[in-house]
Symmetry: C2
Subunit: 134 residues, 2 copies
Amino acid sequence: MIGRLNHVAIAVRDLSVASEVYRSTLGAQVSAPEALPEHGVTVVFITLPNTKIELLEPLGSDSPIAKFLEKNPDGGIHHICYEVADIGAARDQLVSKGARVLGSGEPKIGAHGKPVLFLHPKDFLGALVELEQA
Amino acid sequence: MIGRLNHVAIAVRDLSVASEVYRSTLGAQVSAPEALPEHGVTVVFITLPNTKIELLEPLGSDSPIAKFLEKNPDGGIHHICYEVADIGAARDQLVSKGARVLGSGEPKIGAHGKPVLFLHPKDFLGALVELEQA
């Protein structure tokens, strides 16, 4: 069912410091920051030859990554995103196998303008997994 | 400097349970387990179209992932591995920018038979980063 690894997301406290780590220290191609108020984050995209890294900084008072950064003050790897061909079919198949979908269970439009879902880390080896319809 | 994302590693308590999550629930292609006593882990490789996921289970009494699993009993995303063309040159460049290399600072032969290094998470946004010579 899962296809490409769409991205790995790293939560950070300070996006400009974080961007500089990837740009200057690791020599990677880093985009300009993009505020996504509806997702509670500001994001930069790091383009690698085969996938992307996303750096996420909290935006607003109700950011979904605020708690993670309280527990991980240096930042840390927040989630991994796999592509699926049909997110509704993927969701139904996962739920039938006992996996839990976070939130309402209905796909939302994600940071790339495509439908996404998040799966419960306890059902996926402690890793927060996002599914994105490719 | 960094090239492809070689893999994302997820530390798990039970490799057979974890393999089944990826094989049966997520419908991915999962290899047979491979014991790597010199690295203190048993590993399975999950082949995605553009990269790999590695599931790591502790092997032996001195496994480098034992502490991580004490803190994260459900498992969790342990590290990300970027490819570099020349690991010695990459190491020298990183050290000149103030980044810390774990261990002796000398590359070791990693799970894929290629030279690898690990970088200090505090210098890389809280994420443990492995570099592998491609």
